[in-house]
């Protein structure tokens, strides 16, 4: 388990704030492309970073303690600074109001994300990919499925780009690996086709129950690994369960794509329609579970969370993310506390 949860310094979040353009590099999913049903492949970058987004480093522990003594004001302004660095629209989006960041479930979501000790890592990742994809699609269906008159809630005029606020929009790589901007509706269509193409491919997600393996446990599994694999052979996650060499990479891409869709749902559709349809708690629960899982399994890197960073901060502050899990560590707690204060919850 330790490899899943080895602590990452919370400061990573601050220091990792990229130089502009850093995430412009195309993702490495070339192996997935031949299977892509269209001449567009999921590619990917966060473009149009209109503002520098460099949250200040968290204070050193000594400073934190210092502040913790009595000076709440300086802390507040500190949190405010962090929030300011996110360049959020004002007033802040409704989903950052703690009263609307609640859940249909209580308890430690980590109990659902943590890999069972005996289960091989690749098998667990595959399971989580499919579960989260099914969850996400329940929400996408609401905005994406046509009414009888052919209209959809998410359409090229409401969402001309696959955006997550003013600062982020996501592009798709076409066959020439050029980033193209698409309306969110179309992006999501392509994304869905691409993901289900992967998930339904038994070469990537094997379903034969005879091919299963188990987690190696040095304390119990006394047979040397060499008996399970040939020594000179390349090793990768999921290999012994029949997952392909690029399996983790494919899953990371799937998680990244799903994250973008969630980000779009929050930034463009939280009120219209999810709040109106009384689905915001469901959305919160599924997305927070998604973030916890993705971080715990290293399917998403801290910098990839950026469009949703303030919500992650808030969830770390309001107890949605248990301490010690990676999502909690990726959060900026001062920003989260400030959001709680703004919502009059402290």
């Amino acid at each position: 388990m330790s490899n899943l949860f080895s602590g990452i310094n919370a400061r990573f979040r601050g220091t990792s704030s990229k130089a502009p353009g850093q995430n412009k590099s195309p993702i490495t999913t070339s192996s997935g492309q031949p299977n892509s049903p269209t001449n567009l492949s999921p590619g990917s970058q966060s473009s149009s970073s209109l503002a520098p987004k460099i949250p200040p480093l968290p204070s050193s522990p000594s400073l934190a303690q210092n502040i913790g003594m009595d000076d709440t004001n300086s802390m507040m302004s500190n949190g405010e600074d962090v929030l300011g660095s996110y360049h959020l629209p004002r007033p802040l989006p409704l989903w950052l109001n703690a009263s609307y960041a609640k859940h249909i479930v209580k308890g430690n979501f980590m109990t659902l994300s943590a890999r069972p000790k005996t289960v091989e890592q690749g098998e667990w990742i595959a399971h989580q990919v499919v579960e989260h994809y099914r969850n996400l699609w329940n929400f996408v269906r609401v905005i994406h499925e046509k009414e009888d008159d052919g209209t959809t809630i998410c359409n090229p005029s409401t969402c001309p780009r696959m955006s997550a606020g003013a600062n982020h929009s996501f592009t798709w790589l076409n066959a020439k690996r050029e980033p193209v901007e698409l309306p969110a509706y179309e992006y999501i269509t392509l994304m869905q086709r691409w993901i289900s193409g992967k998930i339904d491919d038994v070469n990537i997600f094997p379903t034969d129950t005879n091919g299963v393996s188990f987690a190696h446990n040095p304390a119990i599994t006394t047979s040397p690994l060499s008996q399970l694999t040939n020594p000179g052979d390349k090793e990768w996650i999921g290999k012994r369960s029949g997952f392909p060499e690029n399996f983790v990479e494919v899953c990371q891409t799937i998680f990244r794509q799903m994250f973008r869709v969630y980000a779009h749902l929050y930034w463009a559709h939280f009120i219209d329609p999810f709040y109106h349809l009384n689905l915001e708690k469901q959305l919160n629960s599924c997305f927070s579970h998604f973030v916890l899982t993705a971080c715990a399994l290293d399917m998403l890197k801290p910098h990839e969370l950026e469009p949703m960073q303030p919500l992650i901060d808030l969830w770390a502050a309001n107890g949605t993310f248990p301490q010690g899990c990676k999502a909690y560590e990726y959060a900026n707690h001062r920003a989260g506390d400030r959001l709680m204060q703004l919502a009059n919850i402290s």
Partner: protein, 628 residues
Amino acid sequence: MDPNRLHLNFGNNGDRLAPSDRTYPTTPSTFPQPVFPNASGQQAAQQAQGGQQYGYPANNYFPPGQYQQGYAPQGGDYGNAGYQPRSNTPGTNDPNVGLAHQFSHQNLGGAARGNAYGGSRGPSPGQRPRTAGGSGNQQPGYGYGNAPPLPTSSSRNAPDFQQAPERYPEKYGINSNNNQKKCSQLAADFFKDSVKRARERNLRQSEMEQKLSEPSQSASRREQIWQNGGKKEARYLRFLRTKDKPENYTTVKIIGKGAFGEVKLVQKKSDGVVYAMKSLIKTEMFKKDQLAHVRAERDILAESDSPWVVKLFTTFQDANFLYMLMEFLPGGDLMTMLIKYEIFSEDITRFYIAEIVLAIEAVHKLGFIHRDIKPDNILLDRGGHVKLTDFGLSTGFHKLHDNNYYQQLLQGKSNRPRDRNSVAIDQINLTVSNRAQINDWRRSRRLMAYSTVGTPDYIAPEIFTGHGYTFDCDWWSLGTIMFECLVGWPPFCAEDSHDTYRKIVNWRQSLYFPDDITLGAEAEHLIRSLICNTEVRLGRSGAHEIKNHAFFRGVEFDSLRRIRAPFEPRLTSATDTTYFPTDEIDQTDNATVLKAQALAAGKPIEDTPEMSLPFIGYTFKRFDNNFR
């Protein structure tokens, strides 16, 4: 602000995050506790946070208003609390109690159903701890289409945020609103199922760890235990992410047919394991208003792990059918046995009735009233022991909750089922001498069992007189079955259902023990203690009343299931259907029929059939013998 909180939020203080000694929530002892398990420092910090209502209330997975009663996991108690809360419902005249009531627990946040069943549910129990923030959660009518969360201290003064508009679901189209319902229910189901699975998985994990820790275990054996454990979990995970479909099974034989579908003996292609597959025709279920029943059956079978209840392995669906994959019980049913043997000796009757008592007791302990106990629903397993089936679907269940339906039957004209052979039988005249006639009745009985109307022979009078009923209605049914075992026909047997209803309601006049059949005094006494008014019916305050009856003197109830049954099925193979009347059943399956019809009508097939709204959330997958 509380200094503790700051302390918490700055995160890097070194007294938390000691990754090396972190235990993870898969540790069984810690799992059901939603508090993040760890060092005491963290706990304290959590509590400080909890004081702010933002920690993890230790026993509350689901906030109020979503899971009102049924699913309040408290410690390891998840799902066990059923009997208590549900027993509030019987005894009312509400037609939606019992199975349908159980059904209502599944429709989380679905507005329409919430209203339909809300009446019998009562307000949200007061003991639910308030959780985070405490706005809007406690509204009993949580659904959609409401105003924004109640303005509370938490949201009142928040000019820094976008203002929440008034919720306005009507602005969206029908499909969006349907998708809203699906989404709401599937999200709730996802968490409910995931928690249940994680809990069960941790139980298996701790069982395994116990085995591993036994000192006598050799290293190679330990390794084997570990590997097998991991592989079984992995097989289950693959099962979960694979969509099951009927093409994965080959049909051996059709072993039962009814108005809503059929039961087939099937074999899984990949591993050859034998199951009974019930397939229900969606359009029929929908037309005949059986959705609540189907859902209830799925729920009770999914929740139960009793040896007295037939096991459900998985459910899935396609455009036309719902499928339930269940254990195959090769011994057939009690109806077939009664048709074959006509009557049982008192000893044999004692055995079956005693087992049925235990089976009904098990169902009651799950919080259900079966209400349709009859010989067709009593199955015999490999060893000849009893299991109950047909919770809510069975053919006799047509609008069982609808009092009007029965009132019509009672007051209306004779309502002869079309597909039943008309056999002139006046129960008063039945004696051993006209067994031939009775045998005609028995044969027509099977037809009756397959019809939509079903047989009312075993139903308690209070169910269709509309004066309310409770758990003891199943004990009435027990009495009528016992009568049939000893006498050869059910006590209110009549030419058509209309007459049967009348006889049941006038049971004082119509209950008659034929002169030429000698019953033991105790047997007759027990029957008369069960076929009587609910106020004095034996079993009213629990199954023990019946178990203590003199008729059962000497019966060891606790070990009953382990003794040899009086009839043990003799089977030649795993797919032996000797005990099913397969030659009386048309072996053309419904899928073939439907396909032919669809082809003839040129009907298109839905593209996402599993998403058709009424059947949402039906799919279920059990970790069971396959993976154990």
